[in-house]
């Protein structure tokens, strides 16, 4: 991917914050930081697949944090991404029960260094379940929901993209699709319980 000469961390941050056309800043982060972070994972007991997974997860956490204004401008984007990847990797090592003694020492030594960095490691259970339910929707429903909620298209833009007669039809269709998904969420006992718990414990 070609970037303008002056495309830098600051511009990537701006684009992520605007949440429009994220392909460019994500590619920029890949081309600039994937190598060093993957080398770090591989030299700390990981393999190529671990590096790929951790980098993708770190990007997700970083992008969400930037969009929720949780990223502090005094940290560089590289060190921020690095800290997230390191925390994710340490937590992954801990999860693996077969962790060797060397890895345990590494995790213990690294613990102090990562204190103070507020990395929110997303709870994946809810997401995995919702992703599975979403997959069961029809192709058009999936496209409409992603265009509206992720790409932030207007009703008019969706009308053109999906060849609807007018904006009201899009609005009704979007409601039907969302309703279908919510019904599936409500029908899932684990998700339903998690929602109840979230309300109970705030």
């Amino acid at each position: 991917m070609e970037f303008e000469k002056d495309y830098d961390d600051g511009k990537a941050l701006r684009d992520i914050g605007l949440n429009k056309n994220l392909n460019k800043p994500i590619s920029f982060l890949y081309y600039n930081y994937y190598r060093s972070i993957s080398q770090y994972i591989i030299s700390n007991s990981g393999d190529e697949f671990d590096a790929e997974d951790i980098f993708q997860e770190a990007l997700l956490v970083a992008i969400k944090a930037i969009q929720e204004n949780k990223f502090r401008a005094e940290a560089s984007l590289k060190s921020y991404l690095f800290a997230i990847a390191r925390n994710l990797w340490i937590s992954e090592i801990r999860k693996r029960k077969s962790a060797s003694r060397r890895e345990e020492i590494y995790a213990a030594e690294s613990e102090g260094a990562t204190d103070g960095i507020n990395v929110k490691i997303a709870r994946k259970e809810n997401f995995d379940l919702i992703a599975g339910l979403f997959e069961g929707l029809g192709g058009r429903c999936k496209r409409i929901l992603l265009l509206y909620y992720y790409k932030q298209y207007s009703m008019k833009e969706i009308m053109v993209e999906e060849d609807f007669a007018n904006e009201q039809v899009v609005r009704n269709q979007k409601y039907k699709c969302l309703k279908k998904l919510i019904e599936k969420v409500n029908g899932n006992p684990v998700l339903y319980q998690n929602i109840k718990d979230a309300l109970k414990y705030g």
């Binding site: 994500i26 081309y31 993708q56 997700l60 992603l146 409601y175 969302l178």
Partner: protein, 254 residues
Amino acid sequence: MADQNTLELLEDYLHGRLGEKEKIQLETQLKSDGTLREQLETLRLTLSGIREIGLRQEIRAVHRDFMAKDASASVPEAQSVFRRSWFRWAASLLLILAFAGLGMLQLHSTKIANSHFLEYRLPVQRSEQMGDSAAERYYQAEDWEKLLEWVENPAVASQKAYFLAGLAAYKKGSYARAIEFFDRIRLMNETTDKTLFEQETDFYAALAYLQTGAHGRALELVAKMRDDPHHLYHDAFGKWDQAKIFLLKLKKSR
């Protein structure tokens, strides 16, 4: 289940689009109405799930693109050669010799994929599900375009439909798209009660990864098939194939 107006009101509230008066009114109602609170929480969770699905898809697309291109196009961090130990030099020399050997053999992952490709034949017994039988008809007729168009439209989510669509994309040379369909099957297998087309997906996804140059992923699947003597495609790749893919992976990661 909230009606359209309530749902839109809750959505406006979550997105901070309500006026002060409406906001206070809704918050008062939320305090006394447990069902409404539940609807709001469900909506919050669902919308954040949709956004995350979109973001993950976008990251995955960039990831595939990045991996498929020669990683050497990226700018590596400056590293002094003097920091390398003699061991690394020796390892490098061995690799160079191995790659020279590879060059002589004109080894290429697409060649491996093409030489191992097996036509997938549909079983004689037709599917009971209506949707699946439409997919089968398009597949039999080798109408890849129709099949790919069809699979995105109606509510046809099934492992079989995605598998045939993956094969259609493969046949068209759209390997990244084929991988996307195979990924969907894996996700469905992980999240639903029925595990279907898992082994077939292993094989054709391995071929698609080879076509895109994602040797690491291909190798993982080839190892999975070879390690399991009961795998349908256990004998599809030999030891030498596995070694060739391993060398290609090393070559690319350098």
